[in-house]
């Protein structure tokens, strides 16, 4: 367990963390403001990646693929909101779960129908394709650093948007008491639509950014969705700050757990059982963390006020 390996894994953990934040931010806003459980959020992440691959094939440029895919992800999110979700806001959570589960089935198999079941890949932009030497013996892929930087930039942007703009004020007010905001004369439907579209675009952005290092395949959104839910539940539903901190925590715990669980277990047991038990514990770690957090604080670490 050298310090270099540790540093690399911490960077990997951060990268997973900001990626989770991008997905979780939209999820927690949609849930916080509209009290709506959107299981299809992970499918929107997957769709972002597929759209980027498709637009790259058309244009041959990563940047134009990024812009076009973002626009398409936004448009698709708004269509979903208009056609399905807005009819469900005043239903109970169970209806949300079923309807969005139906949309996951549709999208997961829809992309299979359109692009085939085989994994696709998106080439990395030339400029960022190499690795960079960060310190003595510490070489790290540039693209992962770009993902971290982009994620942190978006977190900062979101902070400014939510904490210091009028629309952000309405979002915060909506998360606390949507009915009251509506009674004060704010067009709550339009606010919902903006929040939803923005969330869909963030999820799509996460999918596009990760596409060059992961394979783009049907169902790729399902795992990230579950992780994002763990993040927003630990962070406290509706809280951007909670989502950010919990995303980094989950990213680090998961990555470090997977890298070092076997080594750590070997301190207390033989190498052979450690190799069996280690991966099992590593993949359970974040769920254990979530169970402990919810046991101690049933509404998460940073519950949005008024809930």
């Amino acid at each position: 367990m050298s310090t270099t390996l540790l540093a690399v894994q911490i960077l990997n953990g951060l990268q997973l963390g900001v990626l989770l934040f991008l997905v979780a931010a939209g999820l927690t806003l949609v849930f916080g403001v509209m009290d709506f459980i959107n299981l299809a959020h992970g499918a929107q992440y997957m769709l972002g990646a597929y759209l980027a691959v498709a637009f790259y094939a058309l244009t041959g440029s990563f940047l134009s693929a990024l812009v076009l895919a973002l626009a398409a992800a936004l448009a698709f999110g708004l269509v979903l909101e208009f056609a399905v979700f807005r009819h469900l806001y005043d239903r109970d959570h169970l209806d949300h779960v079923i309807a969005t589960f139906g949309i996951i089935l549709f999208l997961n198999h829809g992309v299979k129908l359109v692009w085939g079941a085989a994994p696709l890949s998106l080439p990395m932009p030339e400029l960022f394709s190499g690795s960079v030497r960060l310190a003595e013996g510490l070489v790290y892929p540039v693209w992962r650093l770009v993902i971290i930087a982009a994620g942190l930039a978006i977190a900062a942007l979101l902070y400014v948007l939510v904490a210091h703009t009028r629309i952000g004020m309405l979002v915060r007010a909506g998360a606390t008491n949507a009915v009251m905001v509506s009674a004060l004369g704010v067009n709550i439907r339009r606010l919902f639509m903006i929040v939803f579209g923005f969330g869909a675009m963030l999820a799509g952005f996460a999918g596009i950014m990760i596409a060059p290092i992961l394979s783009v395949e049907p169902g790729m959104g399902d795992n990230i969705l579950i992780l994002a839910f763990v993040v927003i539940v630990i962070g406290g539903i509706g809280s951007i700050r909670g989502a950010f901190l919990a995303a980094l925590l989950i990213g680090l715990v998961d990555t470090l757990g997977r890298s070092f669980s076997v080594d750590i277990l070997r301190l207390v047991m033989g190498p052979s059982p450690a190799r069996t038990v280690g991966p099992a514990i590593a993949s359970m770690l974040i769920y254990l963390l979530m169970a402990v957090v919810l046991y101690v604080r049933p509404t998460g670490l940073f519950p949005a006020k008024g809930r």
Partner: protein
């Protein structure tokens, strides 16, 4: 009392009183139909439907009567199935051992996780049950001695006190049939009992139930354990039906499918859970005959059911019956 019941104009099932009888009569007749038509596949399909119906009825107990939306119900099916699989690796293949073990293991997991889950409510409950479901899933995936990700093939179906009863497809079918019937009657009695009324009361207003003096938490925990054990029974039967267990039995998509079954049929009626399980699995069977991408069709159907058929298939049937009896 008898007079008031007879005179009562309220029809709790809205003209569908004959439904449970009809359902079980239909299930009882399937092997005979299969015998006449020579379509033996019908029998194994019927067993599969009834096995999932057991788990769906148990889930309806939680979701429909207790408003406890468990998104990790498939884990209990998996635990029951793995009990059969792991015991058979060690040469224990008699149902007299494996069935009690399957029930005990899933009930114990429900008790342990329920203690934590039931501290939360609403969406947090959905998510924490999901988390525990995922934990069971990953544990099963990492059980390298028992197949890990690939699952575990069971050499032969369980014997019952030494008799190879379950190995005959038709005998197995009727074993499953009586398990479903028993589950249904048990749950029906449970929701009608004082215990069931407390749970239903807590669904409407937990604070008021607590104020009257009921320890809501205990009642909900007991319900959670019962539902877990019944799902374990379903898992025991599933492992015997397929002679195979795999982590996929516990995946969160499977838990989602179970919720879909209950909602598709109609919440909080128990009949709906059986109808929903049958509707889901038969639709799967039917659509997958046309295209392997049947979920592209099924997904939007679910959305339409949520948008337009509130109350599920049972609700739809009730509306139709009402319309006809009035007109």
């Amino acid at each position: 009392m008898a007079v008031s019941l007879a005179a009562s104009p309220a029809r709790p099932r809205g003209g569908l009183q004959a439904l449970p009888g009809g359902i079980f009569l239909a299930f009882a007749l399937i092997p005979i139909v299969a015998l006449l038509t020579g379509d033996t596949y019908l029998v194994s399909l019927g067993s599969r439907v009834m096995i999932f119906a057991i788990a769906a009825v148990a889930l309806d107990l939680l979701v429909g009567y207790g408003a406890l939306i468990s998104f990790g119900h498939a884990a209990f099916i998996g635990l029951g199935a793995y009990a059969v699989g792991i015991l058979s690796v060690y040469g224990i293949t008699d149902a007299l051992v494996s069935l009690p073990v399957a029930l005990a293991v899933s009930a114990a997991y429900a008790l342990l996780t329920g203690v934590v889950c039931l501290r939360t409510s609403g969406v947090y409950f959905i998510m924490i049950t999901l988390a525990f479901g995922q934990m069971a899933f990953f544990t099963a995936s990492s059980l390298a001695p028992f197949g890990g990700d690939d699952g575990l093939t069971i050499a032969a179906r369980n014997t019952l006190a030494g008799f190879p009863l379950l190995r005959d497809e038709r005998a197995f079918y009727y074993v499953v049939f009586f398990c479903l019937l028993g589950t249904y009657v048990f749950c029906r009695a449970l929701v009608a009992s004082r215990f069931g009324r407390v749970v239903r009361g807590a669904k409407e207003n937990p604070v008021r139930m607590a104020t009257i003096g009921f320890d809501v938490y205990r009642f909900q925990l007991a319900t959670y354990v019962i539902a877990g054990a019944l799902a374990g029974l379903s898992g025991f039967l599933l492992a015997n039906a397929t002679e195979f267990v795999s982590p996929a039995y516990m995946s969160w998509q499977r838990s989602g499918e179970l919720i879909v079954m209950v909602l598709l049929g109609g919440l909080g009626s128990l009949d709906g859970a059986i109808v929903g399980a049958a509707a889901y699995l038969l639709t799967e069977e039917w659509l997958s005959g046309f295209t392997e991408h049947w979920k592209v069709i099924f997904g939007p159907v679910l959305v339409l059911v949520v948008l337009f058929a509130r109350g599920g298939l049972i609700g739809l049937a009730r509306d139709l019956v009402r319309r006809f009896t009035r007109g």
